[in-house]
Amino acid sequence: MNILLVGGGKLIYFLSRSFISKGYRVTVINNDRDESTWLARNVKATVVYGAWTDPQILMEAEADTADAVVAITPNDQDNLAVCQLAEMSFHIPRKLALINDPDNENIFIKLGITTVFSPVKILSNLIEQRFSFEGITCLLPVEEGKINITDVVIQDTFPVVGKKLSEIDLPDDSLIAYILRNDTPLVARGGTQLFAGDHVIVITLPENHGKALKTITGEMM
């Protein structure tokens, strides 16, 4: 697979290294002469020095042979332009854009760039989820946190201890999916009783995450 990386900084360096170690062919477009020279010496990638969104430079980087383009410049307008050029002039099948201003996520999607990631959003979600409570681990934010899968260890102080699942009033659109008891997974059913020490796997949405955890732990998140 040929990957075209557009941008600069540490991110470009480590991403190229990581992709190359996985066996991908990497081409980098970088707009800083010294950094380009440094990258060319330190990474086994083809490095093209020039303006990120100059069609001529993209051509030199053989954008028409790329399977995916990843735009990670510090400017959202440049990332948008890279992806749109990739689409309109070079027909690159997969386009990924980094978004600095989280507000731009919906804009990019509406303008046709569907694979976007916002470090601010990902980090702030992660930080909030990690800091929320001892014994609660966010296992997996699906689609950048649109759905959260959380592991909660039931303590004997929790109001749900001894209760059946059908008696626990979780918010709409949240769900206890599995229970891990002594390392044995149990499918959660209405009649299943909860005990201290159980790990419950909770599926929530961002809007009911706090409420669901409060119902289980009895504490304000």
């Binding site: 969104t53 100059d54 069609p55 001529q56 400017n75 959202d76 307008q77 440049d78 948008l80 332009a81 749109q84 050029l85 309109m88 002039s89 201003d101 507000d103 731009n104 804009i107 509406k110 303008l111």
Partner: protein
């Protein structure tokens, strides 16, 4: 102007062209908001400019919203950065459905590519090129300084 109806115009970028357009549209009685991230750029506006000035980065969605781009009749994107102009004008056209959107694109290669996005593109380089070509096609004697070599 054909209609006397006052328009609400958002101008992004208050450089030489942006400030010129802002002054002119304001004096014609239109409601104008001019956005630029450099406050000193507003010095180019005349004393009788009666529109609004908004300091901010037009790539930031919140700034565009503050400029009430959703209610604009016309958006003109004339910053120094082609990509900013393209992004702002696409937001205006495709998200806020602003009736008239004009962007200046300095790079002629990209002007062509973006022409089919529904945005009116003004490419100064191409305009100058056309003008120069016409000048050069004129025989020397017609150009006023007919000095045969």
């Amino acid at each position: 102007m054909l209609s006397k109806k006052s328009l609400y115009v958002v101008i992004v970028g208050c450089g030489r062209l942006g400030s010129f357009l802002a002054n002119r549209m304001s004096s014609e009685g239109h409601g104008v908001v001019v956005i630029d991230n450099d406050e000193t750029s507003f010095n180019a506006l005349t004393l009788d400019y009666s529109g609004f000035k908004l300091v901010g980065d037009a790539d930031e969605f919140a700034v565009l919203k503050k400029g009430r781009i959703d209610q604009a009749d016309m958006v003109i994107a004339v910053t120094r950065d082609d990509n900013s102009n393209l992004m702002v004008s696409q937001i205006a056209k495709n998200i806020f459905h602003v009736p008239r959107v004009i962007a200046r694109i300095l790079d002629p290669k990209r002007g062509e590519i973006y022409r089919n996005l529904g945005i009116e593109i003004v490419c100064p380089t191409l305009i100058e090129y056309d003008y120069f070509t016409k000048l050069l096609e004129k025989p020397l004697s017609e150009s006023g300084k007919g000095n045969e070599l």
